[in-house]
Subunit: 210 residues, 2 copies
């Protein structure tokens, strides 16, 4: 580029372009927009960013967003603590909650197995999932079923298959969200009815061992 | 949504979704990403946002980004001050500068005429453009040509036509970026060669009055 932009603008464009799905050109457009918008707009966004990091964390138990130690789902006594739904990301919890059909608890993996990207089981919240399941066995409400709600694509399939072996070997029923989700799509963008269908038609991956 | 998100997260999603081209779902995804990313990432973005608003402004003369009163193009004495290029937005200056083919000065309209959106000539930097042209007449380097580099779409065409009448009535040659730009597309995303072609093949909209 013949004309060098002022440093603060270059920096903002750089920071924006590090966000997912935002390329260099989009970042440039957003930065110019923020420069042109009323002054408080950029400040409100900046303070919202800092606020989120200061006031929120991930639930110690399930990995969803929490204001305190535990999230509002884990502390809700009306939820069925014998039924788990395993999702890849915190926003996948929102997708399932939108439908309102699932009444159990969640476990967020914080990603998916991906040999190509070098993401192994150790990088995901798998040990903590198994620990939760094992710990429940000595309580009054042991986990009876784990619904694998990973995305219906290659990585999500591999992750579900890997988890189903670990979970069924513990004698616990393990199902996957049923047909209804388009192959190769993303859970986050599914509509509520499709998700409800998928919950209803969930199927076993492997029979629990005797 | 059955599950209400914590306020700080709702606020960040709301602020992000007010940005152009970012819808509710994208905003949600970005917010979750920022929550999951290392702590300094959100802070760096926040500080870049505040920094841009504190340290940058629009050039008093042409409307491009400036750190001081005037931008680096307006203060560059090697630029041809008898040739103006009129663009809609500050980022359009970048698009033309990338090619390096234009050596004159700019004038940013800060938008385009759009009857449907209620944007009239008074909302744009048109009076200041005419004032610059008129003021140059009494100097040693009067403006000799104005290149209208508005986007090649309906609003950009209307804006160019409106401006060409005002400019040619002042006895100044007025051209428009030539063919080479795809109709209905956006200047910002044109490649450098296409822009260079368009500069070379610029054509008069109306003959200057005698």
């Amino acid at each position: 580029m013949a004309e060098k932009l002022p440093d603060p603008l270059e920096r903002l464009i750089h920071e924006l372009s590090r966000l997912p799905t935002i390329g260099k050109k989009s970042a440039q457009r957003l930065a110019f927009h923020l420069l042109k918008a009323p002054d408080q707009r950029a400040r409100e966004l900046a303070s919202a960013l800092v606020d989120v990091r200061e006031r929120l964390r991930f639930c110690r138990q399930c990995g969803f967003i929490a204001e305190g130690d535990l999230c509002s789902i884990c502390t809700d006594e009306r939820r069925d603590s014998t039924l788990f739904s395993v999702v890849e990301e915190p926003f996948d919890v929102l997708a399932l909650e939108r439908g309102g059909a699932f009444k159990g608890l969640y476990h967020v993996l914080m990603g998916r197995l991906s040999p190509l990207q070098g993401i192994t089981p150790d990088d995901l919240q798998i040990a903590s999932l198994l620990a939760r399941i094992d710990a429940s066995k000595t309580t009054e409400s042991p986990v009876r079923e784990v619904i694998l709600a990973t995305n219906p694509n290659v990585d999500g399939d591999a992750t579900a298959l890997y988890l189903s072996r670990l979970i069924t070997s513990r004698g616990i029923s393990c199902t996957r969200l049923g047909l209804g989700l388009a192959v190769g799509s993303s859970l986050e963008f599914a509509d509520e009815l499709t998700l409800r269908q998928a919950l209803d038609s969930r199927r076993a991956l492997e029979k629990p061992m005797p």
